[in-house]
Amino acid sequence: MSTGNMNLTLKIWRQKNNKTKGNLVDYKVSEISPDMSFLEMFDVLNEDLISKGDEPIVFDHDCREGICGACSMFINGRPHGPKEGITTCQLHMRSFKDGDTIVVEPWRASAFPVIKDLTVDRTAFDRIIASGGFISVNTGNAQDANALPIPKVQADSAFEAAACIGCGACVATCKNASAMLFVSAKVSQLAQLPQGQPERYRRVQSMVAQMDAEGFGNCTNTGACEAECPKGISLENIARMNRDFYSAKFVSEEDI
């Protein structure tokens, strides 16, 4: 059961560090089981490379159950591979055929520089959150949780926006390398909750400013981000963010 019968050719991006140029390198893997995850197939390849005295391929991964957002491979031209609604760690080899050639690249965006091989630097996302993706409430300041009823529809909608895992697939797939889906998910989550109102217009302005400063592109409403998002974050969030952003510029007393 441990080994299967799939034989595959992989073309994988190798790049020593962010100062050197990278290129695609061909590898063969054999006896791959359709029950393996895509990352477990990489484990097999790496084990083989180590035993031959070569350097294994470096890629980000951690929880391997689709929630931490670490894994970030661009597989055959699509972030997280050919299936919808999942991350690379949830992609199984049964989605491929024996004899396939698979091209694996890192996320491509100037705001996500390559660190090594398939690993990129996504700290730009953290800096955007640090610029305003929060509600300013120090520990100990909270009232009773049920003192503030929130209509279920609104709470559910905020939750859907909050499901973002910060993986960066939206940026990777966007022809403009725009981070609008990521930023709008957080803006929209907090804007739909009563707790988020006091900082609503300040937040959207700060986060958009930071997003621009990081070098992400603009949104041209192509919708690739929504199609490729493993968590189904909706484009509606971008519309909400734009609406709040314009409102802020016209009516907010604070100009950030």
């Binding site: 484990d43 490379l49 159950e65 610029s131």
Partner: protein, 659 residues
């Protein structure tokens, strides 16, 4: 030798925390600005502690090995977080949460700590909601609750099957806010490799920058380890690939005692192993046991499909054995019961190492309620199933999707196949009531400490403990220590203790590259995992543990003579990171077996086959083992046992019964 004093405050149980909090020495705002605190880890405990301490005015440095603090493994917690809010008006109270937790832990936790946890549990929910964490709500706009194992009230708050994610993102946003204000300095892709102890006090850490490979010195007036649990000692577990014991283990080697290392939680509902290629196991949340019924065929080696087995030929063994709690018995009980059925030949699926978790009955029940709401009278079964499916989808949709993704089967149509897997470790660094380890100035929070769950943790209590420690306990208790450190100047990083600690870390790294062996790190990790699972897993016995100790010692020798670490030290090198972690896991594995061998009783997750009741339940020995095992590290991977007696003054210690 360090003194083992739990520093439990005097007075009535219900007054201890309130009194201590009000009489705790304080540090004034001006002084806080010149005090530095190092926080290792950015999960629920680390992020909440770092954010809160920074809000209070301390200078904080926070470290995580992930590329972002948002990816700490707390993110993967699914089911929920307990709090004694009694919103459901079902008789819940602080005392009841305290009682359930002590009983669930099989009377091996400290009363005072657990009571404090129950007291602050309600504040956690308030804080998280204020941060914008979207917990599940009813149509009236108020918070919803569900049941978890080991309790008869509904006190679990949740956000679909992503509670950990939402709570962590709340703590992360509080942390990022402080980072944005310059009050926390964040170091991502950094791994702690040494604790620096100056004149007997923890004064900093040596961390490796994982991208450049540089060893860095970071000083502080206190060090907080919030680095999670050590379930990955088993190789296969529900933990993330990077979860490791290294920070705790390095602290252990610098004098911090390790408490109850053998207490491991094997979670009953995980997706079974499918082959040797498997790199990790996936949990199916305990919340599923609200609506899923667990069964196996009544006939041995029954190869029929689940749907072909009629109702009266199914053994709902948890409902049969434990009528009062049914499918919601605590995890240790449910796991052992599954193992018992499978070992006896009633398992299902190809491997026969699985049982069914079946949602059909409750799907139909929900469907009937929905039909009623839609004014459909006498609905047929098909309509009920269709309507019920929508309800199940709303409650557990992401879990069902995850199951389908991994197994290729549709759990809405077929019952899930599940089997127990390593999930959580109750053991950890020994801490006193203030969460301080046996090294002054060195604290341990969250899963990294041993303190609140005894020998078995109840579901939805890990999130509660992580956030309690970080938001509501350490911000107070650390004042007691820091108020005496006001005259301590910033710690000089050229102190000999820093030089020596850095040299130690470097020596270990150099040694890895010098071995030039033939086997990968994973090779050794898998071997260790197999020894641990076979001999120190769900059931243990003296002979097996003795064999395991010898096998692990041999494995340690093999590792240090034959491991191959490719690449170099001065670059991004995940194989080198793994080597360091596995080296520590091997030493820990031996200690776990020693602890399990020492504890001649069964309690909670620690089941010694020699000690069981006639019905096969865990048989405690309160006369001889009502203590915390606190192990001291001795030169050359040796360990000395110290004991902290557990006193039960408010709860009558009894044989745990869920019947």
């Amino acid at each position: 030798m360090a003194e083992l004093n739990a520093h439990i405050p005097e007075g009535e149980l219900t007054e201890k925390w309130t009194k201590l909090r009000s009489s705790m020495p304080l540090v004034n705002p001006a002084n806080k600005r010149s005090i530095e605190i190092v926080v290792v880890g950015s999960g629920l405990a680390g992020a909440s502690a770092a954010a809160t301490l920074a809000e209070m005015g301390y200078k904080v440095k926070c470290f995580c090995f992930q590329d972002s603090p948002r990816r700490a493994h707390s993110i993967a917690a699914q089911g929920g977080i307990n709090a004694a809010k009694n919103y459901q008006n079902d008789g819940d109270s602080t005392y009841r949460l305290f009682y359930d937790t002590i009983k669930g832990g099989d009377y091996r936790a400290r009363e005072a700590n657990v009571h404090r946890l129950a007291e602050v549990s309600a504040n956690i929910i308030d804080q998280c909601v204020a941060q914008g964490v979207p917990l599940a709500r009813e149509y009236g706009g108020l918070l919803d609750n569900r049941s978890f194992g080991g309790t008869q009230v509904q006190r679990t708050f949740y956000a679909a099957g992503q509670t950990g994610q939402q709570l962590l993102l709340g703590a992360y946003s509080a942390l990022e806010r402080q980072i944005g204000m310059g009050k926390v300095e964040m170091f991502t892709r950094h791994e702690m490799l040494e604790v620096v102890v100056v004149d007997g006090k923890a004064r900093g850490i040596i961390a490796r920058n994982l991208i450049t490979g540089e060893l860095e010195r970071h000083s502080g007036h206190a060090v907080l380890l919030c680095s999670g649990g050590y379930g990955n000692v088993f190789y296969l577990s529900t933990n993330a690939m990077g979860s490791n014991v290294t920070a705790a283990w390095k602290a252990h080697k610098k004098g911090a005692f390790f408490g109850n290392p053998c207490y491991t939680q094997i979670h009953p509902t995980c997706i079974p192993v499918s082959g040797d290629h498997q790199s990790k196991l996936t949990l199916m949340s305990e919340s599923l046991r609200n609506d899923g019924r667990i069964w196996v065929p009544k006939k041995k080696d029954d190869n029929r499909k689940a749907s072909e087995i009629p109702e009266d030929e199914r053994d709902y063994y948890l409902e049969r054995r434990y009528p009062a709690f049914g499918n919601l018995v605590p995890r240790d009980v449910a796991s052992r019961a599954a193992k018992e059925r499978c070992d006896a030949g009633y398992g299902v699926g190809n491997s026969k190492l699985a049982v069914y978790l079946d949602f059909k009955a409750n799907t139909e029940r929900y469907g009937r309620i929905e039909a009623n709401k839609h004014n459909i009278h006498n609905p047929d079964k098909e309509t009920c199933m269709k309507l019920g499916r929508e309800v199940i989808k709303e409650k557990y949709g992401n879990l069902f999707d995850m199951y389908a993704q991994i197994t290729g089967e549709d759990p809405y149509e077929l019952p899930m196949r599940i089997y127990p897997a390593v999930h959580y470790t109750m053991g950890g660094l020994w801490v006193d009531y203030n969460l301080m380890t046996t090294v002054p100035g060195l604290y341990a929070l969250g899963e990294a400490n041993f303190s609140d769950h005894g020998a078995n943790r109840l579901g939805a209590s890990a999130l509660m403990q992580g956030l309690a420690d970080g938001y509501f306990v350490i911000p107070y208790t650390i004042g007691a220590y820091l108020s005496k450190e006001l005259s301590t100047k910033p710690i000089p990083q050229d102190h000999p203790a820093f030089v020596e600690a850095e040299a130690n870390a470097k020596a270990i790294i150099d040694k890895f590259f010098a071995i030039k062996g033939t086997k990968s790190v994973d090779h050794f990790h898998k071997k260790l995992g197999k020894i641990m699972w076979d001999k120190c897993g769900m059931a243990r016995n003296a002979q097996g543990l003795t064999e395991a100790i010898a096998a692990i010692q041999q494995l340690r020798k093999d590792f240090w003579s034959d491991v191959r670490v490719p690449g170099s030290a001065d670059e991004f090198n995940p194989e080198l990171e793994k080597a360091g972690r596995v080296a520590d896991f091997i030493e820990l594995g031996e200690l776990m077996c020693r602890d399990a061998l020492n504890r001649n009783e069964s309690c909670g997750g620690h089941f010694r086959e020699e000690y069981q009741t006639e019905e096969g339940e865990a048989l405690r020995d309160d006369e001889n083992y009502a203590y915390v095992s606190a192990w001291e590290y001795k030169e050359g991977v040796n360990f000395e046992l110290h004991k902290e007696e557990l006193k039960f003054e408010n709860i009558k210690v009894a044989q745990r019964s869920y019947k």
